[in-house]
Amino acid sequence: MTNTLHDRTLPKADTILGADELVINMGPQHPSTHGVLRVKLKLDGERVIGSECVIGYLHRGVEKIAENRSYQQFAPYVDRMDYVSAVSNGLGYCEAVEKLLMAEAPPRARVIRTILTELQRIASHLLWLGTHALDIGALTPLFYCMREREEILKIFEKYCGARLTTHAFRIGGLQYEAYDTLEKDVERFCKSFEARIQEYSDLLTSNSIWIGRTRNVGLLNAADCIALGASGPVLRASGVKWDLRKATPYAAYDQYKFEIPVGTNGDTYDRYLVRIEEMRQSRLICLQAIENIPAGPIMARVGKVLKPPPGEVYHAIEGPKGILGYYIVSDGGTQPYRVRIRPPSFINLQALDKMIRGHLVTDVVAIIGTLDIVLGEVDR
């Protein structure tokens, strides 16, 4: 096991890439790198034989800021990391701090949190599907996905006033009571959403050009996934039937029945199928959840000034991109001593070099899309 990931056959140059073959620079301002990611591709003709990711363009030092903010003050920063799924970032952070305090959100808060997190997962997958299809050349799915995503963002706006960086949750529960037509809105969305997913798969699933562009592209088998720490849809598409919502249930996930979609050989087409199926499952969860939202308080008694007892906690949730973990160390003060965020996009991106070896340049674009990375989370 001595071979390193990067360059088994390449000479040890100062940079990771030996500079003899053709090296092209993709990014950081590239239409399809989903943000400021720069990939140095080493090509032999059209085939990629080596790559090096240069990241850090969007590094804001979130973890350093956390050490100079109180627990509640840091909550909005968490939304700015993976700005596409702000609600689930917030859920992860709030639950981690609640665990640190050994407090617990009341049942009503946990159910509403589950509904909003599942809606956010659908919105994140919709954005992924739109941009991924656009990179591979299908112009139309983007607009269909944006139309649905708009519905979800309207629900968020009605609930907490913001669409993207929502800061919807508070440590200990919720800030706002569910607005009166929340159940009806979510129900209307879920009812119409099934037909819409059918529209996407009619356009893409059985489309021979789409299959031609995605089948056997960006192969990553189960062993590689676990070794590289890839998680979420990338891991499930390689055949590992594992989801944190089932393995270690949090919020109110243990009360609902839903399936975990699994792929077979871990290529771009399987990841596409897994994410489409995940959207369907999230829709089912929302439908089950809005049937009975338990009455009761929406905020646990955690007091205004949070001074958690010294110690540390690690809490991970199943974000749309993968395992989103929070490791918080408290020294008893009002400000966290250390907050470490386990970024799924950052770790999934590490698998990029392994996946694009031997492919053509056009496939690199598809593979970056299938990893569903958000640079805000990669750079933190």
């Binding site: 096991m1 001595t2 071979n3 088994r8 056959t9 092209i24 993709m26 239409p31 399809s32 032999d44 059209e46 085939r47 034989i49 080596g50 299809a133 656009l134 990179d135 591979i136 050349g137 299908a138 112009l139 139309t140 983007l142 607009f143 269909y144 139309r147 356009l203 893409l204 489309n207 050009i209 789409w210 031609g212 562009r213 089948r215 056997n216 192969l219 088998n221 062993a223 590689d224 070794a227 392994k354 070896r357 031997g358 492919h359 053509l360 340049v361 056009t362 496939d363 690199v364 674009v365």
Partner: protein
């Protein structure tokens, strides 16, 4: 000298008029095709498309043209000035000259009854790849060279397919002359699309690839090559390329319509009880005029209302000509009537053809370059060859049994089915091989095996 020139104009005033019309009108038509494309794309994507400039965005092409004229077209510093300027000009001239032999109506053709007709069009459009190669090379930018090489390879390989598909059409028509072809389809009373459907189908795909559009638009695929050979162009020079692409689309559509869809014939030309179809052009234009008048009132801006009135007036005028000329049949209008009538049907068919281009563009993702070449060489060229042989055999059967007109369909049926079966076999064989070939190859040539073997 002057007298000679006068005689020249005297003899060829019709052709000169057509030539001037083509050079002036085609860029305008190309602009409006862009607008229609954006509107259709918008409609398919649950949105409205350009609505702001003029009523329903009708003035958008003029706005685009003005913008492109004003925009500064910069030249990359170490680019080859002469070639950089020459390339888009070359591709535009190729597109426009090849339109010379296209017959928009019975008498509306610049190279009047040139003996080689359609071959002239195909030949001149062979100059297209030059504009692209030189453009890509002259802009001295890494991505453009890759884009240029790719698009040339694509154009050359699909020209062969288009050539064979046209050959099957020429076999049926027996002549290359445009009017001869349409006349043959009139006498045969059946459009050649029904006699050689596989020919038409392969030509449709090849023509899409030849104009770098829809699933074959890899050379200027935005996602990885930024804009292929057009990356360094901007302003008017870029619009030359853009217009050349749309002009090429019209040319390719015209060739397809003339050869397979019966040029300027109206559907069922000889069937008497289908007479009411003659009135269709007049009715259609009248309806458009009425719609414009109704909308003119509601326009927010004064200039938009004026524009709507102008469009309405134009539609009514042409509708009037159609209405007047048909029954009265007096000499000058008769001459005009046949031309306009034929032009209407021809343009209707060409626009249907181009609609298919647009439709494919908005639904299909893009081919990868090796898949594109494999489709071209492994499937389309053999299919087109088999189709030529099939049509030949069909013709032999037809002449042997003396069937003609409608019976010709029966003669062609077995060969067409045979060709389709061959097509299926080719596709299955190709899928089996494609899967093996496109699997990622590790750097040392072996298939990517489980690299965690230590």
């Amino acid at each position: 000298m002057l007298q000679g020139a006068l005689a020249f104009v005297q003899a060829w005033w019709v052709e000169l008029l057509c030539a001037v019309l083509i050079v002036l009108v085609v860029p305008l038509i190309a602009g409006y095709i862009v607008l229609v494309e954006r509107k259709v794309m918008a409609d398919m994507q649950a949105r409205l498309g350009p609505m702001r400039v003029g009523p329903h965005g009708l003035l958008q092409p003029i706005a685009d043209a003005l913008k492109l004229l004003i925009k500064e077209d910069l030249i990359p510093d170490d680019a080859d000035k002469f070639i950089f300027w020459f390339a888009p000009v070359l591709s535009m001239t190729a597109a426009l000259t090849s339109m010379g032999a296209v017959a928009f109506g019975p008498w509306f053709q610049v190279a009047r009854d040139i003996n080689i007709g359609l071959l002239f069009v195909v030949g001149i459009s062979a100059l297209g790849p030059f504009g692209i190669v030189l453009g890509g090379w002259a802009s001295n930018n890494h991505y453009s060279i890759i884009g240029a090489i790719r698009s040339t390879a694509q154009l050359i390989s699909y020209e062969t397919t288009a050539g064979f598909a046209l050959v099957s059409g020429f076999l049926l028509a027996g002549t290359l002359k445009v009017s001869g072809i349409v006349q043959a389809q009139l006498t045969d009373q059946v459009w050649y699309v029904f006699l050689a459907p596989v020919g038409f189908f392969t030509y449709l795909i090849a023509s899409i690839a030849e104009t770098n559009r829809a699933p074959f638009d890899l050379p200027e695929a935005e996602s990885e090559l930024v804009a292929g050979y057009m990356t360094e162009y901007s302003g008017f020079r870029w619009s030359l390329y853009f217009l050349a692409e749309y002009a090429n689309m019209i040319v390719v559509g015209a060739v397809g319509t003339t050869l397979f869809l019966g040029g300027w014939l109206r559907p069922f030309p000889n069937v008497q009880w289908m007479g009411w179809v003659d009135a269709l052009p007049g009715v259609l234009l009248g309806a458009v005029g009425v719609y414009c008048v109704v909308r003119a009132g509601k326009q927010p801006a004064q200039v938009q209302a004026l524009f709507m009135w102008a469009v309405a007036a134009a539609c009514f005028a042409v509708a009037l000509i159609f209405a007047l000329a048909a029954p009265v049949g007096n000499a000058p209008l008769k001459f005009m009537y046949a031309g306009l009538y034929g032009a209407f049907w021809f343009l209707l068919k060409v626009s249907a053809y181009i609609y298919i281009f647009m439709w494919l563009r908005f639904t299909l993702p893009r081919f990868r370059f090796d898949q594109l070449m494999r489709l071209g060489w492994h499937i389309l060229i053999p299919l087109a060859l088999v189709n030529v042989v099939g049509v030949g055999i069909g013709l032999a059967i037809q002449s042997a049994l003396g069937w003609n007109h409608w019976m010709g369909l029966l003669a062609m049926l077995p060969t067409t089915l045979g060709t389709i079966v061959v097509g299926m076999l080719l596709i299955r064989w190709n899928d089996k091989h494609a899967a093996a070939a496109s699997a990622p190859i590790a750097t040392d040539g072996t298939r990517v095996e489980d690299s965690y073997a230590g």
